[in-house]
């Protein structure tokens, strides 16, 4: 299901506007099979048990770009991230990557995880966490191992002496850095950061974000940055994708979308972000919550919470259409 497609090829290696990864119509559902009978006799009519985590998502990421994916918990962003990294297989759709038939199983897409506690094996020393995969794939030999690990730790802002420590002996920020070093060890081209700076202290968050910038320059990396923190996404992204209930609702360049958001959900999100320069607010928050995955509303999935809702929104789901070059939005208000 994985084909190699190369879209624009320029002769000069540097000014290449090349798609690194193209995601086409990806969908993924999970079924809540809870007992033996349902497993043996799957009932296709039993729609209540099927959660469509990701629903027909299409986008692409160009070389050297930072694409931010924003959404709240339950919108499917983590699932999408894992599909791209080949941790989960999509039910429908295709992903094409790079130019020379590189399958998704390659090491060129790596993930940085959110939870610093659970993303490192508690039984492994830092040295082994970083060197296990390169040794296994024969990217580095046993005698080069020490030097290799030292070099990576240094590039990620860690002291060589953490090499022999266990994860529980490190701070949260240090563990994050080890996770980054582990991903870098296999020389990836695309880094998928799943809430990589969430839960970090502000001062550590700044250090890690700066590290991401530095690594991008040194290693020519491309990032797919999944986050619920709009202020971070605004700062680092070139392109921004907003997801709601498994679908893309808006997609545009970061400058465009933050200056003048189009989709009502994007507008609501922007208004909700606490901003240090807005004092003594009487918040006017958006009402309601994202609906539970098993109770999808008809029509536009956002309509129960939308303050601009019209009758068509309740019936027909809007398509994601281009409202101006490079800007897509899925809202009926755009058509008429």
């Amino acid at each position: 299901m994985i084909e190699a497609i190369d879209v624009f090829i320029h002769i000069s290696e540097f000014k290449v506007i090349k798609d690194l990864i193209k995601v086409n119509n990806i969908s993924k559902s999970f079924s809540l099979k809870t007992n033996l009978i349902e497993t043996i006799l799957p009932n296709k009519k039993n729609n209540k048990r099927i959660i469509k985590a990701v629903n027909d998502v299409t986008f692409d990421i160009k070389y050297g770009e930072i694409v931010g994916l924003v959404g709240e918990s339950g919108c499917g962003k983590s699932t999408l991230g894992r599909i791209i990294c080949n941790i989960l297989k999509p039910d429908k759709g295709e992903i094409s990557f790079g130019k020379n038939n590189i399958s998704l199983k390659s090491l060129e897409i790596q993930m940085i995880f959110q939870d610093p506690f659970n993303s490192l094996n508690p039984r492994y020393r830092v040295k082994n966490i970083i060197s296990e995969a390169p040794l296994f794939h024969k990217l580095v030999s046993k005698n080069e191992e020490d030097e290799f690990v030292d070099d990576l730790l240094n590039k990620c802002g860690l002291n060589k002496e953490v090499k022999n420590r266990f994860p529980h002996q490190l701070s949260g920020g240090q563990r994050k850095r080890v996770g980054i070093a582990r991903a870098l060890a296999v020389k990836p081209k695309l880094l998928v950061c799943d809430e990589a700076v969430a839960g970090l202290d502000v001062s550590i968050q700044a250090q890690i974000i700066n590290l991401f910038f530095e690594l991008q320059n040194n290693y020519n990396l491309t990032y797919f940055f999944i986050s619920h923190d709009l202020s971070v996404v605004e700062h680092i992204s070139d392109q921004v994708i907003i997801m709601y209930f498994g679908r893309i609702v808006e997609m545009a360049s970061a400058e465009d979308i933050f200056k003048k958001p189009n989709h009502p959900y994007t507008k609501a999100l922007m208004e909700q972000i606490p901003n240090i320069n807005k004092r003594n607010l009487s918040f006017q928050p958006i009402t309601g919550e994202m609906p539970s995955a098993t109770k999808a509303p008809r029509g536009c999935k956002f309509h129960p919470r939308c303050r601009f809702v019209k009758s068509i929104c309740r019936e027909i789901e809007p398509n994601l259409i281009e409202i101006s070059p490079g800007w897509q939005s899925a809202c009926h208000l755009n058509y008429n």
Partner: protein, 292 residues
């Protein structure tokens, strides 16, 4: 962020409880005694030339003809009780540990296999495990022994077969929790082989709760084997375990010759009790740490 070795920390936590520490010491003494039994016991109870049947059923403290004192008396065959108990301890421990170890390996393998594969395989395996768990272990062991017959190896097989399910259940549960953690996802992302993920990443993290199960289950195995031997379907007479010794002396209890049953009984009691106390305490201190 202490730099203490996690095992050293475990040890110091363990030693905080004086009773558990005492139990561990006694257990170690019993193990050493049983290992050294050929050397330290005054008599080899299975060597017929050393036994004098005329010296049977003598009370504790009697002087024997050969010059040493029967510290715990003799049984009906004239065997020195102390020697018999030491040898019996050895057998009981050997059988218990051997069956525990193999049950552990079997249960761990099946549990990990079920957890990693999920789906129908997992469901079928676990339903079988549940079914077996609903029968008492002694019943399963008895049924197996009647079909397999007598012999040390058959007893060990029966013990393994009745015990592996406890390990499988815990192994599967722990493996499922660990498989949801992100370091496993990272290993998948890094394209490590399935074998490597299960053996190097998953297995070491599933071990702590299983070690606890093992200590307690070895205690059960020893008790189970003693029961089987007491009933006469366990180990052969040529290898008298503590259970058989108790069984032999049972009829003499009413005649006041208590020592033939009681001393092996006390030895068995202390053995199982210390194993249980150590295992219990291990479980207690490991539990909150698992939640960290």
């Amino acid at each position: 962020m202490s730099s203490l070795n996690p095992y050293k920390k475990l040890w110091s936590e363990f030693c905080e409880n004086k009773i558990a520490f005492l139990a561990l010491c006694i257990l170690l003494v019993l193990i050493v005694l049983s290992l050294l039994s050929p050397i330290i016991s005054p008599q080899d109870p299975y060597n017929l030339s050393e036994i004098n049947i005329l010296e049977g059923r003598l009370p504790p403290g009697t002087l024997s003809e050969s010059g040493y004192i029967y510290v715990l008396g003799t049984d009906d065959q004239g065997r020195d009780m102390l020697s018999a108990i030491l040898y019996g301890l050895r057998i009981s421990l050997a059988v218990g540990v051997a069956s525990g170890l193999f049950a552990f390996i079997l249960g761990l393998t099946v549990g990990l296999f079920a957890a990693y594969n999920r789906g129908i395989i997992d469901i079928l395996i676990m339903r079988f495990v549940d079914m077996q768990l609903s029968f008492p272990a002694i019943l399963i062991a008895l049924i197996l022994l009647t079909t397999l017959g007598r012999g040390t190896d058959k007893v060990i097989i029966a013990l393994i077969a009745s015990q592996w399910v406890y390990y499988a259940r815990v192994a599967r549960g722990t493996a499922l929790t660990e498989l949801n953690k992100e370091y496993i996802e990272s290993a998948l992302c890094l394209n490590l082989s399935k074998f490597r993920i299960i053996i190097f990443q998953l297995l070491p993290n599933c071990l702590p709760p299983l070690i606890v199960v093992m200590t307690i289950e070895i205690g059960h195995a020893i008790a189970l084997e003693a029961t089987l031997s007491f009933l006469g379907v366990g180990l052969p007479i040529t290898k008298p375990s503590l259970g058989l010794l108790i069984s032999n002396g049972y009829e003499y209890m009413l005649y006041g010759k208590y020592w033939i049953s009681m001393f092996p009984g006390i030895a068995l009691l202390i053995l199982i009790l210390t194993i249980n106390v150590v295992g219990d305490h291990l479980r207690d201190i490991l539990n909150p740490r698992l939640k960290q």
